[in-house]
């Protein structure tokens, strides 16, 4: 089971590149695509889900070009878009039945699968209520359920925890962890804690390009010794922001406790602390934006 993304790019209107020279090779596991809004995550996911075609490059699934043979991938694909609708007059059960039919499940398999999925996404008690009456979070859970109907080998979920309350987010994280076994899961998010909880690999995306592809541990190792906690007066916060990458800032009685990502100590009173993934994300993003980062491929090789 292998998904290869080779020099993939997507241009809009002939001028705006949503994605450029993107390269990635994936096997079974959970890849977290992390990046700010507009980074190109959804563009990449739409290309992988065969919704849109790449303007350049190639994506292959087990050696087959998905642009030439999309249906081979679609047969084993589960996709949850970032922005989708439902049929408001159908109940959750009926909608999932419809999607199951489109995905080629037998009636018996669909019934069992839908029962299980509705329980897992905690919609069993409202399965017969029309979807038009569902909240945003409930619709999101229906979306998650439909993506899992056909036991997909490639599961693509775009911002899956949007609209979910904390309990539902944890349920989804557990679900994704259970599913990660022998399949490729790609999920995108701008919530770093989701990536921390679920991903076995991380790809940082910024301005349509791949910044780095690595394991969470290796990402953290790369910024080890670069994260400081420092208390600064409120009046100096603006200056500090201009000079350093700040991953967090909390106002306290004694000043502003900032978390700084920097190769050198930012101040005499700054203390070195253990990095987290948010620190690593910000470090790589800022460095990439300043053009100070080597190519993603080289960096990935070096870190691995």
């Amino acid at each position: 089971m292998k998904l290869c993304i080779e020099h993939v790019g997507k241009v809009y209107g002939g001028r705006v590149w949503g994605l450029r020279d993107f390269n990635l090779e994936l096997g079974p596991g959970v890849l977290g695509l992390l990046g700010p809004n507009g980074a190109g995550k959804s563009t990449l996911m739409r290309i992988l889900a065969t919704i849109t075609r790449a303007s350049e490059g190639k994506v292959t699934w087990n050696g087959q070009d998905i642009a030439q043979h999309p249906n081979e991938l679609r047969a084993v694909l589960g996709y949850l878009p970032q922005d989708f609708g439902v049929y408001p007059h159908l109940t959750a059960q009926e909608f999932l039945n419809y999607m199951a039919a489109l995905k080629g499940l037998s009636a018996k398999a669909a019934r069992q699968r839908i029962d299980e999925l509705l329980q897992i996404v905690n919609l069993a008690e409202v399965r017969k209520r029309p979807l038009g009456g569902y909240s945003g979070g409930m619709k999101q859970r229906v979306g998650i359920a439909q993506a899992l109907l056909n036991d997909p080998q490639l599961l693509i979920v775009d911002e899956p925890t949007v609209g979910l309350d904390p309990e539902e987010r944890v349920r989804f994280r557990n679900l994704l962890s259970d599913l990660s076994g022998e399949r490729i899961v790609i999920f995108s998010t701008h919530i770093v804690s989701d990536v921390e909880a679920m991903a076995t690999e991380i790809a940082l995306v910024s301005s349509g390009t791949l910044v780095i592809h690595s394991s969470p541990e290796q990402l953290l190792a790369a910024v080890e010794g670069h994260v400081w906690e420092w208390v600064v007066p409120s009046a100096e916060l603006t200056n500090v922001r201009e000079q350093y990458v700040i991953s967090n800032a909390l106002r306290r009685n004694d000043g502003v406790h900032v978390r700084v990502v920097s190769a050198q100590t930012p101040g005499e009173t700054a203390k070195l602390v253990a990095p987290n993934l948010e620190d690593a994300y910000l470090y790589y993003r800022e460095t990439h934006m300043k053009g100070a980062l080597p190519t993603a491929g080289a960096l990935t090789k070096d870190i691995r």
Partner: protein, 534 residues
Amino acid sequence: MILARILYQLMLADFLERIRRSSFLITLGSMVLLGYYFLPAPSANYAVLSFEGYRGIYNSAWVGGAVAILASLWLSLVGFFLVKNTVERDLRTGTGQIIATTPVPRPLYTLGKMLSNFAVLALMVACIVISAAATQLVRGEDLHIDLWALVGPSLLLTLPTVAVVSAVAILFETIGWLRRGLGNIVYAVLWAATVVITVTIATATTHITPAIDDVTGLLFPLAQMQAAVKAMFPQYGGGVSLGADVKGGPLHTFVWSGMQWPVEIILERLFWIGIALVVALLAALFFTRFDPARGRLRPLAAAPAGESERTEQPLPEIAPASVRLTPLGASPGSFRLGQLFLSELRLMLSKVPWWWYLVALGLIIATLLAPLDTARQTFYPFVWLWPLLIWSEMGIRESRYRTNQLVFSTSHPLLRQFPLQWAAGVCIALVTASGMAVHFLISGDPASLLALILGALFIPALALILGIWTGTSKFFELLYLLLWYIGALNHLPALDYMGISKNALAVQMPFLLLAVIVLLLVGAYVGRWRQIRI
């Protein structure tokens, strides 16, 4: 002053939003073509305005009058369908919720929208008039352009008519049950009734009286033209032919000097502009200000889920789910024709209330039990009017409800879901016409049965291609209503897709229809292929 500014901005923003779409260029192009076809060449085999074989020469007076009449007639129908979407647009785009949080009063909102509708339709009238002026020169019967004679009738007759249409469109958009397909049908029926009454009155009398109830503004100019024909050709019997009509031979021409404008007619047309403003303000009573808890002013598609903020809160510990997913046995992705067909059928019928089935059953029984001719002429046409709103969702469902990414990412959507969607539409046509089909069978009328089957294949194919290519249900609803009215109800053989009249069967309409069905399906397939490939 501030209110005037708000009104102006409401109108302007909506107007600019509409005219900047590429589809609007196509609409304007169609208006230019209309202006040309409203004035057929002497050698053409059709006429659009004639009086028992007579017409005026194409001078500015006749051109101005004829174009005003025909534009009033057609824009009063087509114009409604073109502009009845402005409130819906605010709802769909989410700008409605923002507008709702401003101090804009409801009457100002509905009035602003009505003025935007009017501006759009007025622009179309202007295009038609300009095109007609050019056509006058092309036809060459009179090369002198009299600006007032050309433009005056459109200003005084057509613009008040489209003002009323603009206001009614807003009113329908603010009343829940008239907002969508049913409202389109109601309006089309009202329009047809108005036109029939107008033409009947025009044929029955040549007495020139400005009529306060002449919303279309057709009676007055028609009466003046009829009087002119009568004065020159005493044998003229008072008949009027309005709309495309096949000519028996060349028309006799005469010189018409143009409209007279008594004060009463100007006041009458101003009265209708006043009515339009009143209707626009009346719409404010029904406008719910995009309150999702009131009325049926809810978006058709689900609003996207909001973004969650970064949170510092630790997430609760949740016990692992006690339910596990059972591995699927046989490979999914295989094609289960029966199951997918039934799913498509269920989806098409998901919005249908119980009483729809009752009426459909009644029509089946009526067509089965009534005498054959009564069943064919009286009940059969309505058998295939009743499912109109079901068919009109075909082709647009995926984009309307934003399920396209979910549906088009499944296996072979073109080879599976697309044909079965069509098949489900055919099934509905066959079931609703089953009473008539059995009646034809029992009566030993295989030709009519064949025509019925072809009609059942035709309607969903038409719905699919129009839905897929236009992205809206209105095009199909309008075109089908016209086809149904002219072909099925009034038995024009060339458009009788149901094969109701013996003449339709005689001119081999069914076989032509088969060719059309194939073309429609190919066109729909190509359209869907484009949607999936993008």
